[in-house]
Symmetry: C2
Subunit: 141 residues, 2 copies
DNA sequence: GTAACTGCAAAATATTTGCATCCTT
DNA sequence: AAGGATGCAAATATTTTGCAGTTAC
């Protein structure tokens, strides 16, 4: 877990149990996590409030970002290196599988530039695509 | 308001005050609406619960759809004709102004096709872009 | 030692459900 | 008249806040 500690230090955060545990949950998970996922996780026995505050701290520092989902539940996922404190560059595509409900961060899929009407200035783009994921598609065959 | 009535009939809904009022709110509004926007609106003096149920009915029937936003608030907007019951085709861009908080449906901005990894099948795409809108940009100058 | 973090309690918000009454067809 | 919609009350769920005790540095 030394990586986790260094990682937190690099972001100017003090090292606490909840931050270590929750951060490593994210690094171990391929998909995004909801608050409930974290709370349910047996290895995380922290107060519900602490989880809220830890997640908010991570978002503020640019470690994780929130994902807009089709059903408007709140999901969090690790940011890429390009995210800076208070300024997210979260320009990858999120994919939600209608079948298994898993949310994927498709890091390798770049968002094509969207041409906005004159006068509109884009700061951040979120693309959420829903459908059937690789896994579920295979199963169906 | 005859249009409103015919519209509701076409979707197999009975004609009630709340449905007429809330539907015409949507047709009069250029942007998307949050539950709170509707509740706050003076012309809508319905119970909070009725608003929830009316919105849910509209979503179920394919009249409106929810918009996922970066801050995970729930927004609703009218669907295009291509939306069918239980099957939304909402492929225009939503723009949220960081300054005035207005949500725009940029109907004329088409979403460029996103190339997904093999095995992923897209059913619906939502693009939410945040930044500064035409109006606020002008003000700042 | 000091500032920051955590847990508990509780407040504030948001959403859902049950049921009696009223409205639409 | 019958089925569905509404309003009210209340149950749930979610998120935020205050504060005392604990921990990191």
């Amino acid at each position: 877990m030394e990586n986790t500690i260094d990682f937190l230090k690099n972001y100017g955060l003090s090292i606490t149990e909840s931050r270590k545990k929750i951060l490593s949950l994210f690094t171990q998970t391929k998909g995004a996590l909801a608050h409930a996922d974290i709370e349910r996780n047996a290895s995380v026995n922290f107060d519900r409030v602490t989880i809220y505050r830890t997640l908010q701290t991570f978002v503020d520092k640019g470690i994780i970002h929130t994902i807009p989902t089709a059903d408007n539940s709140v999901l969090y996922a690790l940011c890429k290196d390009t995210c800076k404190e208070g300024h997210h560059h979260d320009n990858h595509v999120h994919f939600i599988c209608d079948s298994c409900d898993t949310t994927y961060c498709l890091d390798n899929v770049t968002i094509p530039a969207v041409v906005l009407p004159e006068g509109f200035i884009a700061k951040q783009s979120d693309v959420v695509i829903s459908g059937i994921c690789k896994n579920c598609e295979v199963i169906k065959e």
